[in-house]
């Protein structure tokens, strides 16, 4: 079910220098991988458009968003506090596939946002969540137990966690026990690299894409992406796409 509501913020939390979490009231339950459009309701028309933000977590009517400050909109969201309200339109987009065997989530930076809830909801017998960050101050710590998942992270400079990239980490893992489903979100270079190193193993891979969005509901055609051989609306046909559709040149 999709709705547009004025939603009350019940809590905010600083996660690291650039990242924060907002908890707000939203009754319906999302599907893993879905997102919402969020906008301020302070009667100022600059900035003008709502911003797409993934479901980070949801439980009992409490929706959590994990947001990284990258520009004006997200900076303004970071200034919100409990008691404030925002407009939330959602849930939007398709959702991640699942497996009851083994699954591996691969997140780069803020790309981990949509993966946590997916991990928590996954029925897979074995769940592994690999995360990559540039450096210690960018690390986002997730509650391992809640996700019922094995969490591991790497930093590019080795200042925390495993030294290396999340792709290196995945590579090691694949050599031991390859999962039968990989789900990624992060920079597109990372997605492609994941698909490449996984290609010998015949694993299904799905990526969560981004695009600039105005409406989020398939009405403006602004978020269109030209995938090889087909054109999609990221907000409606996605944000989750089969790796084969995004990088068909890299076999899965």
């Amino acid at each position: 079910m999709s709705r547009t509501v004025i939603s009350k913020i019940v809590g905010t939390k600083v996660v690291n220098d650039a990242t924060f979490m907002i908890s707000l009231l939203f009754e319906e339950q999302p599907k893993p991988g879905q997102f919402v459009m969020v906008s301020l309701i302070d009667n100022r028309s600059d900035p003008f458009l709502p911003r797409p933000i993934s479901v980070f977590d949801w439980e009992d009517g409490l929706l959590k968003l994990l947001i990284r400050k990258v520009g004006r909109g997200t900076e303004l969201f970071s200034q919100l506090s409990a008691g404030d309200s925002v407009r939330v339109t959602g849930y939007l987009g398709n959702s991640f596939p699942d497996t009851n065997d083994s699954i591996c989530f691969v997140g780069g930076g803020i790309g981990i946002a949509p993966l946590f809830y997916a991990a928590r909801k996954s029925i897979a017998a074995e769940k592994l969540f690999l995360m990559g960050f540039p450096t210690e101050s960018a690390v986002i710590c997730l509650e391992e137990k809640r996700a019922d998942t094995k969490l591991l992270y790497a930093t590019d400079d080795g200042s925390a966690g495993v030294h290396g990239t999340v792709v290196d980490m995945l590579k090691n893992r694949l050599e031991i026990t390859p999962p039968d489903l990989i789900i990624t979100c992060g920079p597109e270079g990372m997605m492609k690299a994941v698909q490449k190193i996984a290609s010998p193993y015949n694993i299904s891979i799905f990526h969560s894409l981004e695009s600039v969005m105005a409406c989020g509901i398939g009405a403006c055609l602004g978020c269109r992406r030209e995938l090889p051989g087909r054109s999609v609306l990221v907000c409606k046909d996605g944000p989750i796409f089969d790796g084969l559709d995004i990088f068909p040149e890299v076999p899965q």
Binding site: M1, S2, R3, T4, S39, S45, D46, P47, F48, L49, P50, R87, T89, S211, V212, M213, A214, C215, I217, G218, A219, C220, L221, G222, C223, R224, R225, E226, S231
Partner: protein, 301 residues
């Protein structure tokens, strides 16, 4: 109905419409509002043949507005009648098909083809596209061309024919008069202003097509002025468009004389905006014990 207005032979239950290209083809909004609550909606720009539109990026935010260069992507007339229209055919709201073409012949063919449908309540001709055959200037910037195209479409249909005007002209009234003279039932304005934005780090245009159409609250003062001007200049209804993001904005356009309004990019901010405006209008008129006809054009001059 106390809020009903007429556009040619078409009665709208209220003057709240949604603007082409900002409301999908209606069904995208079914989760957020009751389509029956608004006077009608304008379809995505429709051409005879399917069209892929422009490469991305296609949108960028600007101060109190946005630029788009969607490029009128659409699935073509056949798919519209067979696949799109059925999804909204049961709603009690006017369906106005926004049409565009790159030549007069194409416009004629398109209207003729669409005439087979009973569910189409009217046409809105978008004349802002470049006239490819004749040097690329927009159809809508030459009054003689506006008249010719209006006449051509008029000959094909008895349904309400609305001519949508571009603001990128020296005097929009000339275009409105030409449309009226050639038999248009109404004019709607404004379409987007042409603008651009750049990525100063990369030193390139943000939009793949370099330029786009500016919409949103930023353009409202320009739209309101052109609507008011046009109301003075023609006798047919004028439909006001540009920067409506609240019921107050709706009022402004009605007060300067618009018979109806279209909500455009405001739908992106709040997909229930059109319904909310329709509801507020009813309450407003009731509270003031004012009729819609008294409200429209009530500006003191």
């Amino acid at each position: 109905m106390k809020t009903a207005v007429n556009i040619g032979s078409l009665q709208l239950k209220n003057p709240i419409l949604t603007a082409s290209g900002t409301f999908g083809n209606g069904h995208e909004f079914i989760d957020y509002m009751n389509l029956n609550s608004i006077g009608g909606f304008c379809s995505k720009g429709l051409s005879m043949e399917p069209r892929g539109g422009n490469p991305e990026p296609r949108i960028v935010e600007t101060a109190s507005g946005m630029l788009n260069s969607i490029g009128l992507e659409n699935g073509g007339a056949k798919a519209f009648l067979n696949e799109v229209l059925p999804q909204v055919s049961d709603y009690d709201t006017a369906v106005i098909v926004n049409i565009y073409a790159h030549s007069m012949a194409e416009f004629v063919e398109l209207v003729r083809y669409l005439e087979q449908s009973d569910r189409i309540d009217g046409y809105e001709m978008n004349l802002s596209c470049p006239n490819v055959a004749e040097g690329g200037a927009a159809f809508g910037s030459d009054a003689a061309v506006v008249a010719k195209l209006t006449q051509a479409a008029r000959n094909e249909t008895k349904k309400p024919l609305i001519i949508k005007l571009s603001p990128n002209v020296t005097d929009v009234r000339e275009m409105a008069k030409a449309a009226q003279g050639a038999g248009a039932d109404a004019v709607s304005l404004i379409n987007t202003l042409i603008g651009t934005a750049i990525d100063r780090e990369k030193r390139r245009f943000i939009l793949a097509r370099k330029v786009g159409g500016l919409s949103g609250p930023a353009i409202k003062p320009v739209a309101l002025k052109m609507v008011w001007d046009t109301v003075q200049a023609v006798d047919i209804p004028v439909i006001g468009i540009g920067g409506i993001v609240s019921f107050e904005d709706v009022l402004d356009f009605l007060i300067v004389g618009a018979t109806a309004v279209q909500i455009g990019s405001g739908n992106f901010i709040n997909p229930a905006l059109a319904q909310e405006c329709a509801h507020s209008l009813e309450t407003y008129l009731e509270e003031r014990n004012e009729t819609i006809d008294q409200l429209i054009g009530s500006i003191r001059s």
